[in-house]
Amino acid sequence: MELPDRHLHALHTVQVRTSEDLLGLVARGDREAFAELYDRVSAQVYGLVRRVLRDPAQSEEVTQEVLVGVWQTAARFDPDRGSATTWILTMAHRRAVDRIRREQAGRDREVRVASREHERAYDEVAETVETRMEQQQVRRALGQLTDLQREAVEMAYYGGYTYREVAELLDTPLGTVKTRLRDGLIRLRDTIGVTA
């Protein structure tokens, strides 16, 4: 039959470029590759930045900074060290955290009930079925942590607190916070099944 043959042929000739491929092209100034990469990652970047910064206007600014930063420093991406998405989201998280520390130096220091607040935020943000599934997966993985590990990880990751601030807020020794962050992330890594 002709139809399945054509279909199979199409599958063979379509080449889906990985995000790592795109980033390599971007490093050499390929604007079209950048536009495609933008379409793939901008929602993740914006969503993450928004989780940390909350404010939509600031989130938009920082998202722009991050994406321009991806263009600017694509040559620094080392595929041996991790995926393009990890590299981009790490940059996004770092800039969001830098911004929140600059902007909110005097912010309110009440200790939030981390998991309840973030459950609410999850529901607000879910737009697609895939996102909802990913959120469930993350939530389930976070559920595998001890309460203390989860609290430390959430405060650091979503709250943008330094480990010293976390220690101060929770009235916990520095060493304990460092350990909880590390152990918590290791546990998450094993649950989510991530390798760099």
Partner: protein
């Protein structure tokens, strides 16, 4: 091998280190493969936490980003072995003082890392920041074609721009610069094609001195300027130009 360093891997992976500790930890990463591997895995885990929060950005952002990249220079991919064709004019005789300061800072850091009191840690934090800065400066100085350019500056202030045309790196060295008011900060700009690109902000030390390595790549066609801006820096210069190194032909 310092066990304290390895304990910071988790905090680093979620960007929970204060700036000065982050610099020091990144320097550690350069020479510790075990930590690097663990950081890479935990960073991927942290990114998974981030992936789940996706949300479509506002309309118009895409167009703005694409417009901005058209006027944004990219860092070049790392060069292989040096290919310096230009004549070298080095001024290393000027800068042994910096190397001595770096060595002294290293000694104090190594001596201080035993039992830590909060005050000692603060002192170490400061020295680590200075050390990291000195290393960035040294990288500029190490370029064989590095040269110094005079900068127009207010009376009482001496300023020079260290520039490597081949490496496209530049650093500002300034002495006798007036302190920035409480709510303001000096900001560097790279002047290119009629535009002013925002670069690092800084405040001079008590002695009016500052060493700042510019983030942007800087070529011979670029100018460099410094203005006073509101704390946190600006997107476009609002203050008057206080330091100015014009573009070279």
């Amino acid at each position: 091998m310092n066990p304290d360093m390895h304990a910071l891997v988790g905090a680093y992976a979620v960007n929970a280190l204060p700036d000065d500790e982050r610099t020091f930890f990144e320097r550690h990463l350069e020479s510790c493969e075990a930590c690097r591997r663990e950081v890479d895995e935990l960073a991927a885990t942290a990114a998974a936490l981030g992936t789940a929060a996706a949300e479509a950005p506002p309309e118009g952002l895409r167009a703005r980003v694409l417009a901005e990249i058209d006027v944004t220079r990219q860092i070049p991919p790392p060069l292989p072995a040096p290919q310096r064709a230009t004549a070298a004019r080095t001024r290393f005789e000027r800068f042994p003082v910096l190397r001595m300061a770096a060595a002294a800072a290293v000694l104090v850091v190594v001596a201080g890392f035993g039992a830590l009191t909060a005050r000692l840690m603060d002192r170490i934090d400061t020295l680590e920041t200075e050390l990291a800065l000195t290393q960035r400066i040294t990288a500029v100085l190490a370029e064989p074609d590095m040269r110094t350019l005079a900068i127009d500056a207010p009376a009482g202030t001496t300023a020079r721009l260290l520039h490597s045309p081949a490496g496209q790196r530049a650093a500002l060295v300034v002495d006798g610069l007036a302190a920035a008011p409480q709510d303001r900060v000096y900001q560097l700009w790279v002047l290119r094609d009629g535009a002013a690109l925002p670069d690092r902000t800084f405040r001079p030390g008590q002695d009016g001195r500052a060493l700042v390595v510019l983030e942007h790549s800087v070529t011979e066609g670029d100018g460099v300027a410094a203005t006073l801006e509101p704390a946190g820096g600006s997107e476009q210069p609002t203050g008057e130009i206080l330091l100015h190194a014009p573009a070279h032909a």
